[in-house]
Amino acid sequence: MPTATNARALGLMVALALLVGVLCVVSLQIGSVPLAPRTVLAALAGQGDPVDVIIVRELRLPRTILAALIGATLALSGAALQGLLRNPLAAPSVFGAPSAAAFGAVTAIALGFADTLSYTLPVAAIIAALVSVAALFALAGASANILTLLLAGLALSSLASAGVSLALNLAPNFYAALEIAFWLLGSLEDRSFQHVAMAAPFMVVSWLLLLAPRSGLTALTLGEDVARTSGVQLGRLRAMTLIGVASGVGASVAVAGVIGFIGLVTPHLVRPLVGHDPARVHVPAMLAGAALLLAADIASRLIPATSEIKVGVLTSLIGVPFFIWLVLRQRSRDLMQVVG
């Protein structure tokens, strides 16, 4: 019954929020100078060793905040796209939206319109992501056909990768190319509050645009004709999702590079617990996305390696096998339907 589902969803959200809190503290502890939880909390309040205070508040806090914000934003984008397209395989990274955003940002830098700390950078990334998602909607059309969608996504992500390769190709010197390449790997290393300030406004816009119309996604469960005859303004819902996803993905990529598959994975993690109603997935998915990226970023710092493992590499290493598993599950389900 609905009340039981509501209670379970609320319980899950409280549990996830606690998990995010714990992971934030752990994230503040980890680094070249390991700190005890008590030291971290004291340093947050500005007390204790001044060096610890600087390490926690100025080096690790922005990184931690960005991990939580970007995780939540990417997860919400995935949940919103899956709901709108009525397709559990939908997510920004599957369609190359982050690569497109990266292309936009790289081009802006290469052409000298932006440096890595100006608002021009997220704007360029958002515009490129906007074009990519709009092209996907146009190519895949109104149908929820999984094959059309994935083929359109494949074409668009190839195009975005080609654009990024072109930027690398035309990079003025070796170091510029290396910088672009590292940035594409996706990382939260050495991020400051300037990065937070640069991305956060666009992320808040993205949240508002994606959360407000989510009841309409529930009506879309029965297809576009039922949604429209139920009073859903489908054009508005599409436009809000388009701009919401683009500004969320664009802002994330502008400050942290390409971090894929958070948007694909997290909705699936919360669905068994909150049910499949697409509107119910959004908020728990945001919390789960924040927890997931925080955990991945912590892991990227703990894995022993000569240079720090980039968090974007880590999420892809987890995300791609998960995607393959989803495809296999979908295939066996289709097979069962054919058999009866």
Binding site: R86, S215, T221, L222, V226, S230, G231, D277
Partner: protein, 261 residues
Amino acid sequence: MTLAAENIGVRLGSRQLLADVSLTLKPGELVFLLGPNGAGKTTLLRTIAGLVPASGRVLWKDTDLARMNIRERARLMAYIPQGHVAHWPVTAREVVAIGRFPHASSLSRLSAADDAAIDKALASADAQHLADRIVTELSGGERARVMLARALAVEAPVLLADEPVAALDPEHQIGMAQLMRQLARDGRAVLAVVHDLTLASRFGDRVIVLNAGRVVAEGEPLQTLTPDLLRQVFGINAEVLKTETATALVPWSRTNSNRSE
């Protein structure tokens, strides 16, 4: 209190899907929309529901539906499309709750009145026992009832259903037809597309016959579905079989065995 479609025309590229179609639908009557494949039945139903750009107009009590806002319109007409698709494995109750979308500000905070409407709709469609089942796991007959319950939860005076009995077994076909007739008796205006002429002539108060985008006949079923009309429009000969308890129109043979369709 009449729904009236006036001079509806729909073009798709160079094809005229509907031409000069007019019809009326009154509360209390069950009207079946008949016609061969490609006659324009679904297009007409979707046009009345406001899903297809068309010339002409659709009126409810002298108000042009094009002037109503989308939510007002959603409260006036409930539409059940073909196929009874559900894209997510949600519960039947969650599906029926979608019917409250035109009334509620948010589906996650339904009022007591919304819950009551959902319960009543499930009961009217004889689907209470399915409420907690996952809709994608239901049989065709069960799913048809859940989709009907969703439309009933709208509490709209007009119900439009596209092939509600397709792919149902005989028991569920008769059950669905009886349900639709009961809904009409309770004061709704019901317009449904069907292919089954026997069912249409038995349960319908009226039938409207479409062919090649035009209305070619309209009226009381057995008087309208004359041998001439069945031959010309459907390419079939039918028998009217009478017993003490039943009169049934039964499609029997093709008029031209060379006809490809």
